[in-house]
Each structure stands twice: as C-alpha cells, then as structure tokens.
C-alpha cells in the first residue's frame, strides 16, 4: 500500500474543504447536544424520579443504529447537513447528559448551602456556583462527545454528507488507498487537536484548579 503524494498535493483544496465540513458537523452536534443536555440535566438533578427516565432514554437513543436514525430522519430533513447534525446530536446526549448530571451531583452540599444562606437565589446559584463547580466533570463529557462525534461524522456518507468520510467511499470505489489513508489521518489529527483545545479551554475556565507554588 503506497501513498500517492501527487494526488494529495493535487487535492489540498478538497481536503481542506472536507476537513472544515467534517469539523463543523461534529462541533454542531456537540453544541446542540449541550444545549439540550444542560436543561435536561438540571431537571434530572433536581427531580429524582425523572432522573432514571431521562438517563435511560439517552441510553436507548444511543443504541439505535446510525443508518436507522438517518432513514427515520429522511422524510423530515432529507439528504441535508441538518440530518447529519441531528443524528450525531442524538449520540452525544448519552455522554453529555450523564456527565452534566454527575457534575451537578458533585457540587458539595455545604457550598450550595452557603450560597443560599448568603441570599443567592436558585437560578443565580445554578449559574454562578453549581455549573462552574460542575465544569470539570461536564468538560470530561464534552471531550468524549467531541472525539466521538469527529469519528462518527463519516457515517453520514450514506446520505451524501460525511465530511472526510467521503474520502473513504471514493478510495474504496476506485480501489485507490491514498484518499482512505488521508481521511483516516486527518480525522485522527482533528480529534487530537480538538481534544487538546478542550483541555486548554478547561484550564482557562477553571483557574481555581491550577496548582500554584
């Protein structure tokens, strides 16, 4: 299996476009996943009986095969980017919801109690005390969801999307390994880079967790 470097140098524009499209799909999924998970996690955290139901639901959704999800969505959103993002978003929920609930659980009762006793109202306590303290656990979920989404985008090749995944079909159909290898390497680099950026973001967002001499 040899790499045809001239193909790569001849297709840098295509590779760039596909990489950006790939990343966009994955990040959109994580973004919408968070948008849905945060309020649901707050509900699951506050109302015990709903907790099992919501976490169970996110687990069940995770077990639906990706092709099935796309097929189910076709009549609604068709062969579009929207279908890709909805499908991927569904998969992020299992990690994001679970971690956000666990993050909120990890906030010490004493700290919440102190906030209340100082005269902080519940919404402000959630935004300025509970969520910041839950952030490390939430971020752990965001990292997993991001890497998972980056690796999953390729699945959407079935519906004509799929970012770097298109390189795989292209390579297989022509029995030409170079695009496949390029796609794998770029997906991997994207995942590593995104994860590193998230680690850096967490470092910036949680100054109280840094070790100081």
């Amino acid at each position: 299996m040899t790499i045809d470097w001239s193909w790569i140098s001849g297709h840098t524009d295509d590779l760039t476009t596909l990489t950006i499209s790939h990343l966009q799909a994955a990040l959109s999924a994580v973004f919408f996943g968070l948008l849905i998970s945060l309020p649901l996690a707050v509900v699951a955290h506050r109302i015990r009986p709903l907790r099992g139901f919501l976490l169970g639901l996110s687990n069940v959704l995770f077990t639906i095969p990706s092709i099935a999800i796309f097929v189910l969505l076709l009549p609604i959103s068709g062969l579009t980017r929207t279908t890709t993002v909805i499908g991927l978003t569904v998969y992020t929920l299992v990690v994001l919801l679970q971690n956000t609930v666990e993050g909120l659980d990890s906030v010490p009762a004493k700290t919440k109690e102190a906030a209340k006793a100082m005269g902080t109202r519940p919404l402000r306590t959630l935004l300025t005390v509970e969520l910041p303290l839950a952030l490390p656990v939430i971020m752990a979920g965001v990292r997993i969801a991001t890497v998972m989404s980056i690796s999953l985008v390729s699945v959407a090749t079935y519906i004509g999307d799929g970012g770097l995944g298109q390189l795989f079909t292209d390579g297989f159909q022509r029995d030409f390994p170079t695009p496949v290898i390029a796609g794998v390497v770029l997906t991997l680099l994207l995942a590593v880079a995104a994860d590193a950026l998230l680690v850096a973001l967490q470092y910036v967002l949680t100054p109280w967790r840094r070790r100081r001499a």
């Binding site: 102190a114 906030a115 006793a117 109280w208």
Partner: protein, 344 residues
C-alpha cells in the same frame, strides 16, 4: 434585637427539634446556644435567617417578622458563618468576601474594595485575597468566613460552630480575634457551639438546650456557673464549674505587695525588672508572671505551681509590679463565687 415567641419546629419525620421556644437576644450582645447534638441549637439559629422555617410561633429580627420578608433579601441582611467556613472553592478569597455586596448590586469595584478592607480587619494579608480557599489553612479559611459574613455590615451575625474544625491553639486565637472584633463592631451575635468553655469565653448570655429542643436556662455565664437551674445544666457545665467561673474574673481587683525579704524562695529579675525565675539555695523554678487582665483561674493555677506560693505580677512591659499570695487569690476566688450567687 432577635425575639423568639412560642416557636415550635417539627420536622416531617416527626421529630421535634425546637419546643415552645421563647427567647430574647439583646442588641449588641453575644448569645451562645449550647447543648449536645440534636438539642435544636442549630435549628434555632437557622430559623433566624429562614434556612429552616418554624412550624409555629414568630421570630422577629429588629422588630420585623422574618417570615413576612423575602427570604433571599433577609439572608443578605444577616451575616452567616458556617462550620468549616463553607467558602466557594472556585472564587478567590477577595471574591468570596465580596459575595453579599455583589448580590446587593454594589458593583464589582466597590465590593472588592470593601473586601480588601475586611481582609485587614480579620487579620489576613492583602496578598491572600488573590488566593483560592484551598490554598489557605483551616484557621485562615475561617477568618475569610467571618470577613464574608461582615461584608455588607449586617447588624446581626449568625455563627454555626464556626471554630469547630480547627486545632485548639488556632481556636483560641480565633476566639480572641472575635472578641476584639466584637468590641469594635458591637454586632448582635448568635453563636452555636457544643463546647462549654467556648460558650463561657465568648457569651454575654448562654442558652442551654436539652434534647427535644427544650431551652433549660438562659443567663450570663457567671450566673449560669454559680446557679445552674437544674442537674442537667450542672452536669452539662461539668465538674469544674467553680474553676470556670474564675476564668471570668480578672486578677486586677486582687491586691499585690512587695516580695517578702528573707524567704526560702526569692524572685530573680533581670536588669529591667522582668521576672526570670524563682531561686532557692541551689534550685531554680520557672516563673509565669501574670498581668492584671489575666484571669483569676490562671492566678490560682500559678499560685499552686509557684514554690513560694506567690504569683509574680507584671505591667504591660513585663516589669515586676509586686506579688500576690495564694491566700489572697483564694479569698478573692471564694468572694467571686459568693458574689455570683448573690447577684443571681
């Protein structure tokens, strides 16, 4: 300042935490609530800022019924210091202290300036304001907790076993510090503890609770020690009740005289007149000189330890002013007890 009128608290599980409590906590005084665990002292404290709602009865702060006020606004107007400080781990010390001023909408700049001022008040360096709570010692965290409670200058301060988690030495320091602050600020303080010595040391009045939420006795410490209302109170105060009473009296009123000449033990001083040790023919015993502000209990202790049976008295600079005999100290100790009983 704080009035409980026929207050009951029954929890949903059926236990009565506070039973028919009627109690007045005077303005500018330290009222200490003591009792073993489960006696309702913490519940009583927490009803003042509505962290717990009473089942029946009324609680007034500054003449206003607490249940008729917005709970969050009420809490901002009352300082609260919690066990093991309860600081926000994700906020710097300065921002922790600024919590209530920020909630009151004072603006970040003004709130931080006030917080910086308070760092000094509670004996912390300006530099520690930039740190996070976990970078401080337990005692320092507790000081931050006190500063945070004082930030909006509330007239009332609630303290729930604030010094429970620090070692005895730091604990004594924090108690001294609180007494010093109180002299300056003159707040109405409600202080919960299970430590009788702490109660005697800090309280202008001590309220003793018994399991089931019954208030047994509420009186100034001297009266409580001299005339406990019943066996429960006497037991709770402990066997050394008499000695504890002496810890409330100072040495100032006990007369002193020049050290006697020609006794077996003589007091050796340095050139400036500061006592060094007791000396006999070929022996030396350490001396612990006492100042007028020291307690009669410390004097009694030293008079027993001193080989001459004399307590060396010194001024603020540590220079010898005279000695007091064991007998004089005993006589005053006895008189302190009689006075406390008669006054009560």
């Amino acid at each position: 300042m704080i009035q409980f009128d026929a207050v009951h608290k029954r929890f949903p599980n059926g236990t009565t935490a506070v039973h028919d409590l009627t109690l007045d906590m005077p303005e500018g005084g330290v009222t200490v609530l003591v009792g073993s665990s489960g006696c309702g002292k913490t519940t009583t404290l927490r009803m003042i800022n509505r962290m717990v709602e009473p089942t029946s009865g009324t609680i007034k702060v500054g003449g206003k019924d607490v249940t008729r006020q917005d709970a969050a606004e009420l809490r901002r107007s009352i300082g609260y210091v919690i066990q093991q400080s309860g600081l926000f781990p994700h906020r710097t010390v300065l921002d922790n202290i600024a919590t209530v001023p920020l909630l009151l909408g004072h603006g970040r700049k003004r709130a931080r300036a006030r917080a910086a001022e308070l760092l000094e008040t509670v004996g912390l360096t300006a530099e520690s304001g930039k740190r996070y709570p976990h970078q401080l010692s337990g005692g320092q965290q507790q000081r931050v907790g006190v500063a945070r409670a004082l930030a909006a200058d509330p007239p009332v301060l609630l303290m729930d076993e604030p010094f429970g988690a620090v070692d005895p030495v730091v604990r004594t320091q924090l108690q001294d510090e609180l007494l010093r602050l109180q002299k300056e600020l003159n707040k109405t303080i409600v202080f919960v503890t299970h430590d009788v010595d702490e109660a005697v040391r800090l309280g202008d009045r001590i309220a003793i609770f018994r399991t089931g939420g019954h208030l047994v006795q509420c009186a100034p410490p001297a009266e409580l020690l001299a005339r406990p209302a019943d066996d429960f109170v006497a037991d709770f105060l402990g066997a050394e009740r008499g000695l504890k009473l002496l810890s409330l009296k100072t040495l100032a009123e006990v007369p002193q005289g020049p050290a006697p000449e020609g006794a077996a033990w003589s007091l050796v001083c340095d050139a400036a007149g500061r006592p060094l040790h007791w000396a006999a023919d070929d022996a030396e015993v350490p001396v612990r000189p006492l100042k007028d502000g020291d307690s009669l209990l410390a004097a009694l202790d030293e008079s027993v330890a001193s080989p001459a049976g004399l307590v060396a008295r010194v001024d603020a600079d540590g220079v010898l002013t005279g000695v007091t005999s064991r007998n004089d100290i005993h006589r005053h100790a006895g008189r302190a007890h009689t006075e406390a009983r008669v006054a009560a």
